[in-house]
Symmetry: C4
Subunit: 223 residues, 4 copies
Amino acid sequence: MTTLRQDQPLTDDTTRELLSSLLRDWHGRGWVSGTGGGICGPTQDGNLFLAPTGVHKELVRPDDFFVVSPADGRVLRQPKTAGLRPSECNSIFCLIWRERGARSIAHSHSLSAVLAGDLAADGDNLTISELEMLKGIRGLSNRDVHRVPVIDNTAREPELVAQLSGVLADERFAGSFAVLVRDHGAYIWGADVWEAKRHVEVYQFLFDATVARRGRALKESPR
Amino acid sequence: MTTLRQDQPLTDDTTRELLSSLLRDWHGRGWVSGTGGGICGPTQDGNLFLAPTGVHKELVRPDDFFVVSPADGRVLRQPKTAGLRPSECNSIFCLIWRERGARSIAHSHSLSAVLAGDLAADGDNLTISELEMLKGIRGLSNRDVHRVPVIDNTAREPELVAQLSGVLADERFAGSFAVLVRDHGAYIWGADVWEAKRHVEVYQFLFDATVARRGRALKESPR
Amino acid sequence: MTTLRQDQPLTDDTTRELLSSLLRDWHGRGWVSGTGGGICGPTQDGNLFLAPTGVHKELVRPDDFFVVSPADGRVLRQPKTAGLRPSECNSIFCLIWRERGARSIAHSHSLSAVLAGDLAADGDNLTISELEMLKGIRGLSNRDVHRVPVIDNTAREPELVAQLSGVLADERFAGSFAVLVRDHGAYIWGADVWEAKRHVEVYQFLFDATVARRGRALKESPR
Amino acid sequence: MTTLRQDQPLTDDTTRELLSSLLRDWHGRGWVSGTGGGICGPTQDGNLFLAPTGVHKELVRPDDFFVVSPADGRVLRQPKTAGLRPSECNSIFCLIWRERGARSIAHSHSLSAVLAGDLAADGDNLTISELEMLKGIRGLSNRDVHRVPVIDNTAREPELVAQLSGVLADERFAGSFAVLVRDHGAYIWGADVWEAKRHVEVYQFLFDATVARRGRALKESPR
């Protein structure tokens, strides 16, 4: 767990330290296992710290982050650590950055995100409702019926961009800070790293709760 | 986990330290995720240390607690840390403090509290029985049928006060140290911080066990 | 987790340190929540270190253990820490010590022990089979059908002694290092603290696996 | 969790340190409970560091590893710690080392591996598909239908060698880095320790996801 103070502004150094500590925490919870998942956050000069790909995420250090231009995903600065490649999430993170004003985006590989995606079946979204925890999403009340878009998985992550553009432009999903990718996981974001952290924890809870409740409903319903 | 000794009296300093460490421990268990949940405990001069709202609870530090008058919820002392607002639980915590003599109250946002609330369906309480762990609740034996009141969620937390007053005055629930809020979580309390900690762990276990057993009963029952 | 070496003999000091660290580890796993559960281990002069009752078990320190005579449960030495009372498990631990040559006995309050006890329904034992992990129990092969006795819960722990005497004398359960108590948990033991630790972890796994498999069987069976 | 850098070559010292830390991490997750499970990794001179048998795996220290010849499983160097015996996995690890070019092999005793093996019923393999996490296995895409061989448990681990030889030679399983052993667990490997770590985490996720989805399918399917 981070020892940073949440009441003090983040610098480039503390942003990298916080991103690194979030990956460590999330690995412990099974959300970024087996080198899966990723994260990005803002530099002070308006660019994006991006985690490397193909590495054990809980072992990513503050010196391992790329600096990337959110305009086009171009790598502006290599990490101090040699031999790393930028995350496959690069183009997706930049898209969400530009379209939603997100400054920190996480990619979760959690089991509950996969099972939540399953609940959508052939539909293009998952509805979440009747949960106080909805308030943890910026702009929502606990009375809202929240729609999280669900897109199909593709062979490679950058190929998700077209579908993702579609759902980010879809009015029905204007209030969502997450996109579920079927069989894969979720992208979850916030205006800054602290909000992204909060949204990640909240959506994981919402996914868990919705999966648990639907499972029960299936058992209770007459056949 | 705290390194405080449970056999020594708490001072204002150690109370704040303990409250902070409990939030950290509970966050690890998923009971106060996404800035949800809260806690309070007693000051030595008869007031109440109250956690701030809208912050990551596992990062709340000993210097982040407000001092509040349990008589009316008025803030008597701001925390050393600037820019914080007192928990939305304020009026609820003060009510439980006055009505039940509780000196430490926790607000859990755990999934098992939500699922336990679901079990009440349209009823106004959940019955818990046939569990040794009931002895962990002050005044109960393992032969008791324990009724935990379940109230409806409201748009904002202070609006729960009216319903809460009702169940706290209800003879059927005189032995309960918890109130479940549908779709939301639970308020759980004790005479001091150590008892509140014990009651939180015990009720979480009772909720988990009751949810698991009812799920099984549904599967086993003929249709 | 302990930093003790498992290849070196335990002294009185390291025994108390190990017992304390096991309670801490088990609390993290939910096996001794809410002040529930307990543990004992051997002193070098043939008596028994006993944890105190009514305290948060993960906070029990090496100085908090009583020394008790296994012959009759008499307290021979008070812990250095004042104000503690010996565990309610005292008479049960002493019985198992004498009847089975156990020198370390744990009392688990885990949910899976409760759910495993439920599986016995009206029967007096739970059968566990077809699991490699059975080998983790001294004397068993993975081909064995292992019977763990299940006794009824009583109002107070010392009242379990009569039933416990019965099952410890029952030939069918001669190979068991555990007794399940319905609605309550389990007593699990070993010849020394390391074996008790192993048996605790193994039985928890066996309970989990058996509960998961029976649940599936119920779902799969035709109705 | 290890503090080693994943971007720097492992030496004999850091290999032993990493193997030790992986056992510690996996014990926390319930994959090597009760002295079960095991691990090996490469020495710099082309042999194999092998964990001891019959000990609590999370307490295995860097000095506790044997050096074994992968050609025949002969012990070349005893661990510095006296009194240990080499893992029962020895012959299996050496077989996988030779047949698959694996240089690090783990033996998991996880519950999800047991439940995944159950899914094969009378078949000789488990199919895993429609999961992005398949990409975490070397050579696989998320479109693959991945077949993991499932073999029957035997009285003693070395007796698994014959069946294991069979499945390692079976063309259908050429892409698998894991073998499930019914009622027992799994062997999972990689070209080096970091890949073995990744494959272990990925297969555990794949087992969990497949078990969760099949359980749901059973509940949802008409009868």
